[in-house]
């Protein structure tokens, strides 16, 4: 029986209303908006009415196909070769523009490989999006384990009561409170090809043997450079989370391990690590979430370049939704991003479930 004695409906709703209304309006509503908008052709400012387009936006982004090009042959069936002796293939355009293959219309080459005498080509409706998707996953797959384990090492190093340890903890954590925009600009200077500090340091360390690299201007080093800086900036954050996890392990367990004669490695393996299992999952999930949200570093340091080698999902979502005012396109990328994030948090749930 619900009674008005211990049930305070009016007060309860009054207190919760401002906060809940704001969350509904600015988090929940836009979230459902994103899903709705991804099935329209909505633009930020447009004279034309918005139309429902179904899954077209998703097809536009996710369309993928593999085409096989067979060598061009003469009437005798011999493969044609150019002067350098290379096998001649028909041009991809002949397929993507052909009336015979309407399903490939508008798709462009993403990458290709040789298979026997044929060439296999992966074509995508949106090559830039595909690159952004791959880069984002690459970023997460590298940063999560590296940043997570470096942070754990720092935490273990810091988790000793020696004089002045607080000073070191304070310093290691310092980059976390500095804006990622500031950090990105600073590191642009550090990574600079001519006057960059990194090149200077490497040259000094190798006594001039090192050849300067334009870290952000080179497609093969740009993404790793962004990864390294991101790890540097946030490793202190995760160090603190590891430290909080370490402090939940009862000191008596260490005393018991010491009495049993466990080595330092054994102590870590059988006492520390089992006690950190949930922290480990949390750290990985937080890094993963932060990784999928990668934007400011890219916007400040590379703008997605060079040659789309640092495109990311959020950068693409913003570039379309804001830069090109293509709200529906940006929303579609957002929904895809959310689906990925949701899948990861479900995996986290599964990993930390009560057993």
């Amino acid at each position: 029986m619900a009674s008005k004695l211990t049930l305070s409906n009016r007060a309860g709703w009054t207190f919760v209303l401002p906060g809940f209304a704001l969350i509904s309006a600015f988090i929940v509503l836009p979230f459902f908006f994103a899903i709705g908008l991804s099935s329209t052709n909505q633009r930020l400012l447009s004279p034309n009415p918005t139309q429902f387009v179904g899954l077209e936006n998703y097809q536009q982004l996710l369309g993928l196909a593999v085409v096989t090009l067979e060598p061009e042959r003469d009437d005798a069936g011999e493969m044609l070769r150019n002067e350098a002796g290379e096998i001649q293939y028909p041009r991809l355009r002949e397929i993507t523009r052909s009336e015979a293959y309407p399903q490939y219309r508008g798709m462009r080459e993403w990458f290709r490989w040789q298979s026997g005498e044929n060439v296999m080509i992966v074509i995508a409706s949106d090559v830039v999006f595909m690159k952004a998707l791959v880069n984002t996953f690459l970023f997460v797959l590298v940063v999560a384990p590296v940043q997570g384990s470096l942070a754990l090492m720092l935490a273990l190093l810091i988790n000793h009561k020696v004089r002045g340890i607080n000073l070191f903890r304070t310093i290691y954590f310092m980059p976390v409170v500095v804006s990622i925009v500031v950090v990105s600009l600073l590191w642009r200077f550090i990574y600079d090809g001519q006057n960059g500090l990194l090149n200077s340091i490497l040259q000094a360390l190798t006594f001039g043997l090192f050849q300067p690299v334009d870290w952000l201007g080179n497609p093969s080093t740009a993404l790793p450079a962004v990864m390294a800086m991101s790890i540097w900036q946030a490793v202190g954050f995760h160090m603190v989370i590891w430290l909080a996890g370490l402090q939940t392990i009862s000191p008596t367990l260490y005393e018991a391990a010491a009495i049993e004669g466990a080595s330092r490695w054994q102590t870590f393996r059988y006492v520390t690590w089992p006690g950190l299992r949930n922290t480990a999952v949390l750290v990985l999930v937080v890094i993963t979430m932060q990784g999928f949200a990668l934007f400011a570093q890219i916007d400040v340091m590379t703008n997605g370049g060079p040659l789309d080698s640092t495109q990311t999902l959020v950068f693409q979502a913003v570039e379309r939704g804001y830069g090109k005012q293509d709200i529906s396109g940006g929303s579609t990328i957002s929904v895809i991003l959310f689906a990925i994030v949701l899948a990861i948090s479900l995996i986290q749930r599964w990993l930390t479930r009560e057993r």
Partner: protein
């Protein structure tokens, strides 16, 4: 000042019934103690009177007014909690004046009432301290001070002494007794400690599994327990219970005995027994006396003895392997293995129906 009356009061959480129909009438100015083992519902019942828990069924009247649906502040009650619940960010003075501040009392009134409470509880020197600077007993005094300033119609105490150590507990117990005489307000006091119950109460309500087992003055409960539970709950060491056979039955007494007990005649006090059936004989350890061989009603072997100085508690094993505790009010030496014969005044013994036996009827 007010009387408190519970009529058919029930409480359930979902399908689980916690309080199973309680009727209690508490007179104006009476000190009533709810006592029982943990989980018996005594605290829940008190919180229902305070207005912190819903009453699922039945009515609660305070001062002749049904208050089931009234908020705590409208009921005219004050409560002292087990953890004291004094506000850590306020001084003692602010704590004591809290209810008056909430009621927007004038500065003058607050000052006067705080001073009065401080005088009654002898803590004038503590008024400007913070709770963190106080001992457990002082904190409890602040909590009581906060309760008395508002001059409530009913005081509610929820195990107020159980967080204190033994010595302090006795002091505070006496203090509460003194306060009670001084204020003369209706008080309801919950405890699991039978000493507190026996020493403080005008009447005790013994609860078990959400039901009232017996209501009565302390000595009434001690000498005339209504059932085996009350008999066993009050008194330390607990009453001995012996399984006996009903040998014979007449109007108001039964002849009972077993292989370790010589046949004796015990008053039935109107309880139902059956000739040839089983019964339970209750004898308090204090009523047992050691006697010379051949004159005892009970024959046992000493298993273990504890000398406490003022009394000696002996654990005996009887012929039928049942256990018996005897408490002698002098310092005596017993060795394990000693044979011992005991006797007691059969008028002080109680006969209870055997529960298993009752169910077959």
């Amino acid at each position: 000042m007010a009387e408190v009356s519970l009529k058919g009061v029930k409480k359930s959480f979902g399908r689980v019934e916690i309080i199973k129909g309680v009727d209690i009438h508490i007179n104006d100015g009476e000190f009533v103690v709810f006592v029982g083992p943990s989980g018996c519902g005594k605290s829940t019942l008190l919180r229902m009177i305070a207005g912190l828990e819903d009453i699922t069924e039945g009515t609660l009247e305070i001062g002749g007014r049904v208050v089931n649906q009234l908020q705590p502040k409208q009921r005219g009650v004050a409560m002292v909690f087990q953890s004291y619940a004094i506000f850590p960010h306020m001084t003692v003075r602010e704590n004591i004046a809290f209810g008056l501040t909430i009621a927007r009392a004038s500065k003058q009134e607050k000052q006067q009432k705080v001073a009065e409470a401080a005088r009654i509880l002898q803590m004038e020197h503590l008024l400007d301290r913070r709770p963190s600077q106080l001992s457990g007993g002082q904190r409890q005094r602040v909590a009581i001070g906060r309760a008395i300033t508002r001059k409530p119609a009913v005081f509610l105490f929820d195990e107020p002494l159980s967080n204190l150590d033994a010595a302090l507990r006795m002091d505070m117990r006496m203090e509460i007794g003194r306060l009670r005489r001084q204020l003369g307000t209706t008080m309801i006091y919950v405890t699991h400690d039978q000493v507190e119950a026996m020493t403080l109460a005008d009447r005790i309500v013994v609860l078990k599994d959400g039901q009232v087992m017996q209501i009565g003055a302390p000595m009434e409960l001690y000498h005339e327990p209504a059932n085996r539970f009350v008999a066993g709950f009050l008194g330390a060491p607990s009453m001995n219970f012996l399984n006996v056979d009903v040998l014979d039955l007449d109007g108001e007494a039964a002849m009972v005995g077993n292989q370790s007990l010589e046949p004796i005649r015990v008053a039935t006090r109107g309880r139902p027994f059956r000739k040839g059936g089983k019964a339970i004989l209750g004898v308090r350890p204090q009523y047992l006396r050691a006697v010379q061989s051949g004159k005892g009603l009970l024959h046992g072997i000493v298993a273990h003895a504890e000398r406490l100085g003022s009394e000696t508690v002996v654990d005996l094993s009887l012929r039928d392997n049942s256990e018996l505790i005897a408490a002698f009010d002098e310092d005596k030496v017993f060795e394990p293995g000693d044979a011992l014969e005991l006797t007691f005044d059969t008028a002080l013994a109680h006969l209870f129906p055997d529960e298993g036996e009752l169910q077959t009827h």
